[in-house]
Structure formats: C-alpha cells, structure tokens
C-alpha cells in the first residue's frame, strides 16, 4: 500500500539537515561543557558562606532552566502537531520528553546534593525545588500516557493534549508553590546564587546553559532520527507481511 509509506517518506528533508547539524551540535556541546566546567570548577570564586559546594549551582541551575525550556518546547511542538498536523512535530515532542525528564532529575538530585552541605538535609521544600519536582511528575505523566497506547499515533495525540494542559498549569503550579512557600517560610532563608550574580559566576552559568541546550538539540536529533527510521522499519515490516499473506 503505497500511501501509508508516503507518509513517512518526507522526513527525508529533516534527515538530510539533521545529518549535517548533528556532528556540529555534538562537538559544540563538548566544547561548551568543557569550557563551562573548567570555569565553574576552577575559575569561579568559592562562595564566602558555602565554600566550594556552591559550584553545584553551575549544574543545578542550568539543568532547572533546561527542564522548563524543554517542557516549553514540548508544548509548542504539541500545539503544532495538533493544529497543523505536521508529523515531525509529534516526533519532536515525544522525543524531547525523556531528555527533559532527565534534566529535571539532574536538577532535583543536584539540588538535593547542594542542600546537604548548605541546609544540613537531603531535601528541602523550597519553592523552586518543589516546582521542579512537580514538573518531574508532569514529564513522567506525559511519557507514561504516550507509551500506554497500543496505537502510537493516538498515544502521541493524547500526550500532546496533556502537554498543553500541563503547560497551562506550569505557571499556576509555580505561583501556588511560591505562595505556599512564603506561607510556610522555612527557618533558614535560602538564597540561590544571590541577588546579583557576579560576572565570574554568570559567565560559566550561561556557558553551561548553552552547552546543555546544544546537548538537548543533539540528543533530540538522535532520538527523532531513530524514531523516523523505526517508523519506516515498521511500515516495511507491515508491507512485507501483507505481501506474504
């Protein structure tokens, strides 16, 4: 049946472009992270209060930014998928989810590791950490929903709806968590990064963030290419079965 095959024949353009972009993004990622880590670990000054443990910030903060950035991407891709029915949009959204979930997990774990030397406990219900935790559950829900459907196309569409619903809720959840946190002001005042970030800290932060972003692009491209090839494979398998029948 030729038409079912046609549907996936046109990501050819994406495959061509991504084949070019992929190696570049991988190299740039490696460079940025190397530079960023060097600046973060050796050049940036230690905090006068927290000492060297403040350096976890250079992984924690960009990871948290990425968690939100990737979710935004997912929501935009989902909207494009639902409104304009572009087949690549679903693949992009679905491919982003585990990456975003991992960034969220990294943010949570590094936040926890940072918390131990700073606040003496492994977990603190600080507004930002709590919001990231809820975001983590939103990611897990998205992944679970998409994978729960036998029909992948239906799962992608259902997950797209969920992504948009979740996206509308992210500011609401963030707002309510901050409200809740100010009501239940913890004993120690937590300041992450301080009110004004000195250039020596800002530069590695931004470099790490950029490195994480190019990492996301690279891994997303890999996942999308894998998904497209996987779909082609399935189509061929079905065609083979039908011809044999």
């Amino acid at each position: 049946m030729s038409s079912a095959f046609h549907r996936f024949a046109n990501p050819a353009r994406f495959m061509r472009y991504s084949a070019v972009i992929l190696p570049w993004s991988l190299w740039i990622t490696a460079a940025l992270i190397a530079v960023g880590l060097y600046l973060a670990l050796f050049v940036a000054p230690a905090d006068y209060q927290q000492g060297d443990s403040v350096r976890i910030m250079f992984v924690h903060v960009p990871a948290a930014w990425m968690a939100l950035f990737v979710y935004t991407n997912m929501a935009v891709a989902s909207a494009v998928a639902l409104i304009w029915r572009h087949p690549l949009a679903h693949i992009a959204a679905h491919g982003s989810a585990p990456i975003g979930a991992c960034f969220t997990l990294i943010a949570l774990v590094t936040g926890s590791l940072w918390g131990k030397p700073m606040w003496g406990t492994w977990w603190v219900w600080d507004a930002r950490l709590t919001s990231v935790l809820v975001l983590f559950f939103l990611y897990l829900g998205y992944i679970a929903l998409a994978d729960a459907f036998d029909d992948g196309a239906k799962g992608a569409k259902a997950a797209a709806i969920l992504a948009l619903v979740g996206f509308v809720n992210v500011p609401i959840i963030k707002f309510s968590v901050e409200w809740w946190n100010t009501l239940h002001q913890p004993a120690s005042v937590i300041k992450m990064g301080g009110p004004s970030i000195h250039a020596s800290m800002l530069v590695p932060l931004v470099i790490m963030a950029l490195g994480f972003t190019t990492f996301f692009v690279a891994v997303l491209i890999l996942r999308m290419r894998a998904a497209i090839v996987g779909a082609k494979l399935r189509t061929l398998q079905i065609a083979l079965i039908e011809r044999g029948a």
Binding site: G141, L145, F149, I161, L162, G166, I172, W179
Partner: protein
C-alpha cells in the same frame, strides 16, 4: 438546556442505581481520615495542626478514585458516539457530566467534611471556611479530573495512570484549599485563598471541558 439537564439527570440516575460507587467514595474519605488519629496519635494539638491538610489530601484521593468511571461506561457501551453526535457541543456534554460527577462525589465530600473536621480535632474557627473552600475546590477536581479520565478512557489500565496525570494538576487546589482553612484557624483572613480557588474554578470551567472533549474525540478514532 434540556439536553444538558437530560445528561445530568441520566448520570445521576445511573449513579444512584449502581449505588455502590458514590458510597465507596464517601466511605473511603471517612475511613481514611479516621485512620490518621490511629497513625499519629490522639493528641488534639497535633491532629488539629494537620487536620486541614489531611482532610484535603484524602478528599483529593477520594475524588480521584471516582474519575475512571466518568467516561468509561459511555465509551464501552457506545454511548460516547451518541453524545458526540448530539446537537450539544461536546464541551457542554463534558460540563454536564462533570456536574453530575460533582453532585455524586464532591458534594458528598463537602457534606462529610464537618464530621471529619471534628474527628481531626480541627479548631471550630475553620469549619465554615473548610466548607467554602471545598465547595469551590471540589468542582475544580471534577473538571481537571475529567481531562485525565478522558485521556485514559480507552486504555485498559487507565485507572492507575489517571492518578499520575491528575494529581500534579490538583496541587494548586490543595495549596489554596489548605491555606484557606489554616488562615481561618489562625485568625487571619481566608479571602485571598478563597479568591484563588474561585479563580481556579473560573479558569477550569471553560478550559477543562475543552481539553477533555478533545481527548474524547481522540478516543473515538
């Protein structure tokens, strides 16, 4: 309007005739809250401190337990197609079903709440606010829950997945609901919290049925 009421009336009839389900929700609510004094000790001061939180969390869980049924029966017996084809927009159909759902779950939770406030030694100052907050908050649970129910309606093990999808979205209701009662108990004004709950209700009233309707149409494909 007639069609809207026809749906509400039908769902209420079905809920009453099946009887057990609505009762299950309330019994779960009452039983589970009653477990807490056994778990944390009968000291009134401690119970009172956690009372608003416990009552709200268990209300959330009870509401969530009843969500799987919201659209499943209609999906399984072909009534969903009939509802989609009706002259009523599907979003309005969803609103009707959410209303019926709230009348058979949320409303019952509201009515059981004062009893549980007594069980949890909650300060009398908080009773009225608890009721007001739950009257505002439980419909939001039905509406947001409808989204989760609609997304998972075709899935075999959808019930388990609903909790993962819906509980994160419930958190704002929980925060402002408990905040309202805590404020009342400590002699502060609960108005900002109640206003936030009202805001959530106003926001979810058009948006949740819209998302749920999209998910229902998807389930028919």
């Amino acid at each position: 309007m007639n069609a809207f009421l026809a749906i509400v009336r039908r769902d209420l009839k079905l809920a009453f005739r099946r009887g057990g389900d609505a009762a299950n929700v309330v019994v779960f609510f009452i039983l589970t809250v009653t477990l807490f004094p056994f778990g944390i000790g009968p000291e009134a001061a401690i119970l009172a401190r956690v009372a608003p939180g416990v009552i709200w969390v268990v209300a959330l869980l009870a509401a969530m337990l009843s969500l799987d049924r919201l659209f499943r029966d209609d999906h399984d017996d072909g009534s969903l197609e009939v509802l989609v084809l009706s002259p009523l927009p599907l979003e309005v159909v969803v609103m009707a079903k959410c209303l019926a759902h709230w009348l058979t779950t949320g409303l019952l939770l509201v009515m059981a709440a004062p009893l549980l406030a007594v069980v949890m030694a909650m300060d009398g100052e908080g009773f009225a606010t608890l009721l007001a907050a739950m009257v505002l908050g439980t419909p939001v649970l039905s509406l947001i829950g409808a989204i989760g129910a609609a997304l998972t309606v075709g899935l075999r093990r959808g019930g388990v997945l609903i909790s993962l999808l819906v509980l994160p979205l419930f958190i704002p209701v929980l925060i402002f609901g408990v905040g309202a009662v805590d404020a009342a108990v400590y002699g502060l004004t609960a108005k900002p919290h109640l206003l936030m709950l009202g805001g959530l209700l106003v926001l979810s009233l058009p948006l949740a049925p819209w998302a749920a309707a999209a998910a229902l149409r998807l389930s028919l494909e």
